[in-house]
């Protein structure tokens, strides 16, 4: 007998306009991209094996894991309009349905935002990356999603579209409001993500998991730095699996900005990042592990950027 998922309908669409019209007419429908989060969530709801994810994704129906009625899905995975990756001057524009594998191997992404390429290459397995989309990674809004810290340091702007409201552009930190929560309306699709690329950045992306492949990150750090001589002219620091929603960690950036690079300043930035995490999240069961490890990771990522500029030895 066939094992079936609790799905009442899958609407197949051939254009973004048609997709938006469907969402406008079917308020409970949820977009299906790669399905690597959504189909796991539906299967778990149906009574399949439980996987360790708190609550399940808050999707367009806002219902999360408790809703037992069969879902109505809008399949957007085949829309070529949403799969484009292109450089537009200094801006990098990535379609929401670009596969994570495509983001990982795109020469445009490698040139403008190598941290994002590395983040995409860290997701799941080959099989997962071949289906998973960048838009799905954002809209699922897991605090441990690999792309989010990399997008945060690149000041990503998320482009949403609906039939009723036209286009809305939100910064990543505005769109993702908390763990598994976004402020997108049920009739809105994420269509693209725009990043500030630009040369001259030294970049570092670090990720800790229980093993190298197929594990959700326990901590992620992304750092961009620009130097003028030995002075830190610009710096952006973000962390994943550390905060409820994606953000830059300003106290850590302030420890470095405008001053000559030093190892002491790198250590200070790490400590400031860890303190900020505790200030925002409070003390939790994981704090004893995460506080020193986040401090060490930020320090190391900053030193890696400095080492790439020839201002420090490569930190082991």
């Amino acid at each position: 007998m066939s094992i079936r998922m609790p799905i009442a309908e899958v609407y197949r669409t051939s254009s973004v306009d048609d997709a938006l019209a469907f969402l406008a007419e079917h308020p409970g429908a949820r977009p299906l991209a790669g399905g690597t989060d959504l189909l796991v969530e539906l299967r778990t709801r149906w009574g399949g094996p439980l996987v360790g994810k708190p609550g399940g994704a808050q999707g367009a129906d806002g219902g999360g894991g408790a809703d037992l009625s069969p879902a109505s899905l809008l399949d957007i995975s085949g829309l070529p309009e949403l799969r484009d990756i292109r450089a537009d001057g200094r801006k990098l524009v990535i379609g929401a349905c670009a596969r994570v594998a495509e983001v990982a191997s795109s020469p445009q992404v490698a040139a403008a935002a190598p941290t994002l390429a590395q983040a995409a290459g860290s997701v799941g397995s080959v099989q997962i990356r071949n289906r998973a989309t960048l838009g799905g990674n954002i809209m699922n809004a897991s605090p441990a999603a690999d792309s989010l810290p990399a997008l945060a340091v690149h000041e990503a702007v998320c482009v949403l579209r609906s039939q009723r409201g036209g286009e809305r552009r939100l910064r990543l930190g505005e769109l993702v409001t908390g763990p598994y929560c976004t402020c997108a309306r049920p009739d809105e699709l994420l269509v693209a993500v725009e990043l500030e690329g630009g040369s001259g950045w030294r970049q570092s992306y670090m990720r800790l998991g229980r093993r190298q492949a197929m594990t959700i990150a326990r901590l992620i750090v992304a750092v961009l730095m620009r130097f003028e001589g030995s002075t830190v002219a610009d710096v952006r620091i973000s962390a994943g699996a550390a905060f409820p929603s994606p953000r830059r960690i300003e106290p850590a950036e302030r420890a470095l900005l405008g001053a000559p690079f030093s190892r002491a300043a790198a250590r200070e930035a790490g400590e400031a990042a860890a303190e900020e995490m505790v200030r925002v999240c409070g003390i939790r069961w994981s704090t004893r592990y995460k506080q020193p490890v986040l401090a060490a990771l930020v320090e190391r990522a900053v030193r890696q950027c400095a080492a790439k500029e020839g201002l420090d030895e490569w930190p082991e």
Binding site: R4, M5, L39, V40, G48, V51, S125, V126
Partner: protein, 154 residues
């Protein structure tokens, strides 16, 4: 019900499928292609790996309605006339098969890799197989089998 047309192991089939039917269900229950295994059902183990339009994917996380028009290769397609492929023979020669439950998925991940990159490094082989779990062999023999085929490539 939705009508889909798939090309499975070079044979075209048209089916009416339930919207909630997964590709692994269609292959095993409707088409009798039980070489593809289901382990975890949630993308973690790779036992259900098949190749869709050239890409290795978990057939437990793909709906059949999403595959309309796609070309699908399963483990049965590696030996269409009962003749094992070079990769399958290498698995046997290197002792890469014990209980065999992971083997179809391993073969499909490795087949997709070799089609794209005929001479992968050991690291590339390990990365390509990272989404396939094996509880018997300890992986070494599997990597060696893929390496053996890679070393023969032009």
């Amino acid at each position: 019900m939705a009508r889909v047309t798939l090309t499975v192991n070079d044979r075209q089939v048209t089916l009416d499928v339930h919207p909630g039917e997964r590709l692994v269900d269609t292959l095993r229950d409707r088409l009798g292609l039980t070489g593809t295994k289901e382990g975890c059902g949630v993308g973690e183990c790779g036992a259900c790996t098949v190749v869709v339009d050239g890409d290795a994917v978990n057939s437990c996380l793909v709906l059949t309605v999403q595959c309309d028009g796609a070309a699908i290769l399963t483990v049965e397609g590696l030996a269409p006339a009962g003749q094992l492929s070079r990769l399958q023979r290498a698995f046997l020669e290197h002792g890469a098969v014990q209980c065999g439950f992971c083997t179809p998925g391993m073969l499909m991940s490795a087949t997709a890799l070799l089609a794209r990159n005929p001479r992968p490094t050991r690291e590339e082989i390990r990365a390509a197989l990272a989404g396939n779990l094996c509880r018997c062999t300890g992986y070494e023999q599997i990597v060696q089998a893929v390496e053996a085929v890679a070393n023969e490539a032009e």
